[in-house]
Structure formats: C-alpha cells, structure tokens
C-alpha cells in the first residue's frame, strides 16, 4: 500500500523538477491573471471607487400576494381583522399589525385585504430608499416595530446593529426604476447600466409558501411564475456579478422568512377554522355579530385564539425588521465587497477561472505522461517490480490528483499574495476558512484529474489526446467563463468550471452556500474518475 503513495509522491516530485512544467502550470496562469487584473481593474487612486455607485436599473412588476385570498376565506365576511392576537398583552388584529407597516403591504391596505409585496421589499432594499408609512415614519423607524420583536435579534444581542445595512447598499448601487423589462434590458445593452434587476409579477406569490387550510379542502392556488432576472452587462461582468450576488443574498433571506411566516399563518388560520367547524358554522355568510353563538362556543374560539402566543408572529417581526439577524447574515459579504479594491475583486474572479482552467490542462497532460513513461521504459521497470498492477494504477491516479490539487493551491495562494501586495495589506481574497478552502480545492482537483483520466483512457494515442485535450478544456473554459465573459448560468452550468469558479467566488465572499457547487464537482469528479480508471487500465500495460 505504501507503494501507492511512493508512486504518487514521485509524480509530484517530477513535476516540481521540470522547469517547463513549472512555467506552464504555475507561472503562466499567475502572470496572465495578474496582467488581466491590472488591465481590467486598473490600479491607482480610482481603483477603490470602481465598484461604488454602480448604475442598476430596477423593474418591479410584482403584483403582490393577497394573504386573505390565499387562505380561502374571501367569500365570507370573515376578515383578517377579525383574527386578533394577544401581542405583548394587548389584543391586536392582524390588520392592525399590517397597517402599521405599509412597507410590507400594498399602499391601500384595508381591513379586508392583506397584500404582501416582496417585490416592493426587495426594491426598497436595493434602492435603499426609505419607505414612508402611513404614520409618516421613514425607513429606519418604519422598520422598527415596537409591537413585534425578532427573537433571533435579541438572542444575538445585536439590536443595535439593526440598521447597519441601510447605508451600505446605497453606496454600492445607484438604482433607477423602470416600468418595462424590455426597456431595462435595452438600457443595459446600451451600457447605461451594469445590470437590470427584473422582478417578475409572480415574485411574491412564489415567495409565499403554500399552505393548506383544513376544512376548506383547498390547496392554495399557484400564481404566475415569480423569477427574478438579473440581466448583466457583458461589458461589466464583475459589476453584474456583484449585483447578482446581492440579489441572491436578499432573496435567500426572503425565502427563509417566508417559510417561517407560512407556518405561522397556516397554524393560526387552521386553529380558527377548526373551531369554526367544531361549532358547525356555515362559512358562507359568516358574521360574528349576527350569529347566534353560545357564549361558550365564542369563548372557545376566542380562548383558542387568545392562547396564541405573540411569538407565533415572530418570524413576521423578523421579516419586518431589516437589521434582524436573517438579513444580517448577508451583511458581511456586502461590507467586504466594498472594502476590497477593484483589483482584488477581479483577482477573485480571474484567478478562480485561471486556476480551474489550468488545472484541466494539468489533469489531462499529467495523465498523458503515461506514454512518456512507456517510451522511456520507466513504466516497464515498474511493471517488472514486485508491485501489483492495481497499485501502479492507483499511484498514477492519486499522483495526478495530488499534482492538480497542489497546482490549484499554489495558484490561489499566489493570487492572494499578489492581491495583498497590490493593495498593500493582507487580503484574503479566497477567505480564511482553511477547511472550506481545502474542500473546494479537492473538489476541483478531483474533477480536473478525473477528466484527464477519462480523456487519456478514451483516446487511443497521445497525439489524439494532445489534439482533443486542449479543445475539451477550452470548450469547458469558454462555457464556464474562463475567458472573461460569462454565459447565462443555464448554459454555464454545463461546464464544471462554472461550479469551480462559483465555489471559489463564494469562498472569497465569505458566503456559506458552497455545498451545491462542491457537491456537483465531487459527484462529476467521482464518476469521471471511476469510468476513466476502468478505461485507463489498458494504458498501464505494454
């Protein structure tokens, strides 16, 4: 077993002593990325301001979401206002709660409709425009609901940071609004904006979780599709990328909150309806005052409702409080984006792309060296030694994996050093989370190396590999965004380079959603490795 390791270590040793290989594997990508970094990012006084006040156009088509309609009691006189909750000791109707906060509701909130509009929320966050509510309060105070508290906030003791976020995005983006998606895309195409954020009509509808209402027999209706499109300018790929990541971040928070909110509304409504049906009420013409309900039944209903703790509405409180920890999670990357200079930011993107791209080459040409070993008879010497053939195979495969992983690590470290030198202070552009860093490097290496094993196993001669290998790498590179332009994610995702670069960018931004990227790379990598190894076995004989 030790022999496997000896063979793998020998592979790395040879690479490090081969001056040409060192030039190609390490120096070329470092120099390339650095030159491109200077060319795109520029260095100097203006650099740090390059990524401030990026012009962004916003199209908010969101039609909102009618809570009352969704819970299926619209035909009745039962209004949301009839649901009262004991909030901090005082009975408060949902309508009242919502009315106090126009920022989450449609402008004309009346007692009978509660129209949530997540699109408006997102728009105001991006534009950092204070929403003025019916009481004339501006954003910071408007968000600050006295009645509702967010337990996440209190637990973390971060109440004072509630509004930290209000100013940050303001500096980052200059947001204009437009009414038409077409016009916004055209404006981006003209170069007026770095990106258009287009919120589809069904956004709120999609954000709201579906809930089923017992007794009513109905599932919620599904509304129009609710995607958000970030239409980036190909002329400013980095800026578009920043916009995309901010929007993704905010929407992620919305999703988390809406799940919690859904559960709350679901249980509240269900409790009400269960009690109503217990008393055999006809919902069609339901009017609390007109009905001849025994005091006992009424007490049961109100009693049940009253026992609802105000905490069931806490998720709602968190939604309405922008500084709450949910949104706060997203705070770090936004801050970082700002403090990084343009050069560093470009190095994150270019460096990732170069590292992954060159790793593919090493993966393929490293495996192709089996022909060289055959030609110079070192392979024959290994076969003549008392070493089982499967150890020879594993040694070669693991050796290649080791070389590729080493190359990626060195490149990323070099980019970190260069960014730090340019900025004049230590700048961990790929973050400081060493285990996450190593995991990402391993995933990329597994994929790149696996591709090499498959390619060399598949093509019959070294010449074919030399011809097709670069074509395959270049195609994957172009699809995955290694050449400075980005294809739409739907296309890019075909290329594992997309996942590698995405994982590295997330490392740099300190984001946590790496699992998908790493998972995709590992899964493809394992498949390539196994299938490749079966094919590659025949290359290990003479």
């Amino acid at each position: 077993m030790k022999k496997i390791w000896h063979i793998a270590a020998k592979e790395l040793q040879i690479v490090l002593r081969d001056r040409n290989l060192v030039l190609i594997m390490f120096l070329t990508p470092i120099v390339l990325a650095t030159i491109m970094g200077f060319a795109f990012g520029g260095v100097g006084d203006s650099a740090s301001s390059s990524f401030q006040h990026m012009p962004v156009v916003l199209v908010n088509l969101d039609t909102g979401f009618d809570l009352q309609q969704q819970i299926g009691v619209t035909e009745t006189n039962l209004s949301l206002n009839d649901l009262t909750f004991n909030v901090d000791g005082a009975p408060t109707s949902v309508g009242e709660l919502l009315q106090a906060n126009t920022d989450i509701t449609d402008t004309a909130l009346n007692a009978d409709s509660a129209n949530f509009n997540f699109g408006n929320q997102l728009a105001s966050i991006l534009a950092a425009t204070p929403l003025t509510d019916s009481n004339g309060l501006t954003s910071t105070t408007a968000f600050n609901l006295d009645e509702l508290t967010c337990p996440l906030l209190t637990e973390n003791g971060q109440e004072n940071q509630q509004f930290a976020f209000a100013g940050t995005l303001d500096d980052l983006f200059d947001v204009d609004e437009m009414a038409s998606a077409e016009a916004a895309r055209a404006a981006v195409d003209r170069g007026d904006y770095v990106a258009a954020v287009i919120i589809a009509p069904g956004f709120s509808n999609q954000m709201m979780p579906t809930f089923s209402v017992a007794g009513d027999g109905g599932e919620t209706t599904s509304g129009p599709a609710g995607e958000i499109e970030v239409y980036g300018s190909s002329g400013s790929p980095i800026s578009a990328l920043i916009v995309r990541s901010v929007v993704e971040g905010v929407v992620n928070q919305f999703t988390r909150i809406s799940v919690a909110l859904g559960a709350t509304v679901d249980s509240a409504v269900n409790i009400l309806l269960r009690n109503v049906s217990l008393a055999n009420f006809d919902l069609t013409n339901f009017n609390l005052a007109d009905l001849n309900i025994s005091t006992q039944t009424l007490n049961t209903i109100t009693g049940t409702l009253q026992t609802l703790d105000s905490s069931v509405l806490d998720p709602l409180g968190c939604l309405l409080t922008p500084g709450a920890s949910n949104l706060h999670v997203n705070q770090q990357p936004l801050d970082q984006t700002q403090t990084l200079d343009a050069f560093s930011y470009i190095m994150i993107v270019l460096g990732s792309a170069q590292a992954v791209f060159f790793a593919l080459f090493t993966g393929i040409f490293g495996m192709n060296s089996i022909y060289e070993e055959k030609r110079q008879w070192t392979l024959q010497r290994l076969i003549a030694s008392p070493t089982p053939p499967r150890y020879l195979l594993l040694g070669k495969l693991i050796g290649n994996l080791l070389v590729v992983a080493f190359q990626i690590s060195v490149l990323l470290l070099a980019f970190t050093v260069i960014a730090s030198l340019v900025r004049g202070a230590p700048t961990f552009i790929y973050g400081r989370n060493i285990p996450a860093f190593l995991l990402v490097v391993f995933a990329i290496a597994l994929f790149s190396s696996g591709l090499g094993v498959l390619v060399v196993g598949l093509f019959k001669t070294p010449e074919q590999v030399q011809f097709f290998g670069p074509m395959i790498s270049a195609t994957l590179g172009a699809l995955g965004g290694s050449f400075g332009f980005r294809l739409p994610p739907a296309v890019g995702r075909i290329s594992p380079i997309y996942w590698g670069v995405s994982a590295l960018e997330k490392l740099g931004a300190g984001e946590s959603g790496l699992a998908l990227d790493v998972g995709v790379l590992l899964a493809i990598g394992v498949v390539l490795f196994v299938v490749g190894a079966i094919l590659f076995r025949r290359r290990m004989t003479i």
Partner: protein, 334 residues
Amino acid sequence: MPPMVQTQKLCKSFRRSDGSMVDAVKGVTFDIEKGEIFSLLGPNGAGKTTLISMISGLLAPTEGDATIGGFSITQQPIEAKKLMGFIPQEIALYPELSARQNLLFFGRMYGLGGKELNRRVDEVLAFIDLADRQKDRIDTFSGGMKRRVNIAVGLLHRPQLIYMDEPTVGIDPQNRRRILDTVKQLRDQFQMTVLYTTHLMEEAQELSDRVGIIDHGEIIALGEQGELTQQVGEEDRIEIGLGNRAVPATYPAELQAQIPGVTRILYTPAEQLAEGSSQSTPARLTAFAKRGRTALPQLIQVLNKDGYEIQSVEVREPDLEAVFLALTGRALRD
C-alpha cells in the same frame, strides 16, 4: 540444484497495425542454471527483447510459461519478480530526477526502505563509481553514466537473477569495457545468475558460460561455446571483402569447385548501413576451408583473374559467428 530459470514453450504473437500477425517468439524452451552467465545471441529483430520481456513478466506469453526460482511468472508474478533484477535496453530512469532519487524510488518499489535502502543506494553508487555525481539530474549525464545508473537500479535489491538486454548498445568502448567487467563481477563476486542478450558475437564469447543463439524467434543452437563451435567443425573461415560489384548467384559454387580444400562459399551482398545512408557494408564472400592459409592464395588468384576488386581479407578460427553463418547462411551484423 534446480535451474534458476525454466522456460516452457514460450510463444508470443503480436498483431501488427495492419492486422497481420507476427510470431516474435516461437515455442522457446531452455533452462538457465544458478550462477551462470547465459547469453542470448541473435541479430536485431530475432526476438531477444520479446523473450526476455515474457520471462520478466512485462509481456504475457501467448502460450507457454516460465518459472523463476520455481515461481511461475504467470501464476505467481509477485514472488517471481522479487527474485529478478531488471536492466532494460532503454535507459529506464526519470531524467528529471537525480541518480540518487531514481535509486531511492525504484528501491521502494522493490520493498526496500529506511536505513537499509540508503545503505544499499550508497553501496551501488560506489559500485558503479558515481557517488560524486549522485545529486545530479540524470539528463545531465553522459550515455555511459546513464547506462551505469540503469544497471545500478537493477542491482539494488540484490536479486538472484539479473537480466540485461543489450546493455552496451550505443556507448563508447571504455564504458562498454566497464559494463562487461561488471557482468563478470556479478557472477564471480555476488554469485548472481545473469541472462544477457546481445547481437555482438564478441560479447557473447567473452562473457558466456552458455549461449543460446536465437533467430526468427527460435533458439537454433544452445550450449557451451566449445560445443557450438564444434558443430561447425574445425574449419577456418576466410572473409573476403569485395567492392560494390554484384556477384552472380552461381559464382560462389563455381569458385568453390576451382579450389581444393574449400568446403563451402557463402555470398553476402552489400548492404546499406541505414536507410538513405550513402555508406554501406561491402559485399563479402565467406569461404570455409580445413586449412585456410593454404586455400587463401588460390582464392585471391582466381578472384583477381575474374576481375573482382579485393578490399580486405581475414582468416578466422571457428567462432560463434561461424556457427550462426553455418546455421542460417547469414551474417550476424553489427
């Protein structure tokens, strides 16, 4: 004592790229005794490398088997391989690594490690007289030095049996001398068994306890040198180099009839040294005679009369070259 190596009807057929088959080795059976130097002598393409590759477990035989120290190379390859040291025809070393790094790596592949490995490496480096260059990369070495390291790798684990496939190809006379001396040293000092292949009659003659002559994938003669030369009798051999003038096919027989004492005359036409090369070996007549020195003046006289230009003349005692010529009608060429 059981033989070190036994081969049983080893066969190897290759499929050419055009689909036709080549029988590179055709049913070879022989034994190599412990402690002897056994040479396989044969021209290029005779099947020496193919045969040795099957015995060392590099190539699977199409048919037949070989045992090394009693272990079948096809059934118990790991045990068999432990007993053998492999010195291929090519310089099978990593050019980027130093001599010492190469030795350390291959030593580990033979299961050596730690202090013992380092001691053995020092030992073989001293043996091949390259201790002072051990830290230099192989690609900075001369051809002869590379050959010596190539040999050293095969000796690291002190194998009972060592194969050498044409270890003197392409090196200068001084280094060749060293290698031949090394081979004898392996047998005399370390009691190793050596399987040595060559296409050079002189090497086989100098080194071998026993010789197998191989041609077209078959062993055509096998035994001690004396036994083999006796097969062709006590005749001397007269080599006459001619110019480029072609000799009619019937001429050797006519010539033989004119000179008493000459038992046979063979003609070897001129041959280009390499494709496209202007140089060529001259055409030769080889005459066998009981008393070469008496037949020689008459031969020269007749050739002169018939208008052939004589470029060189040589009279040889019976040797392995003569055996090959006698058996195949062709010369072993350099």
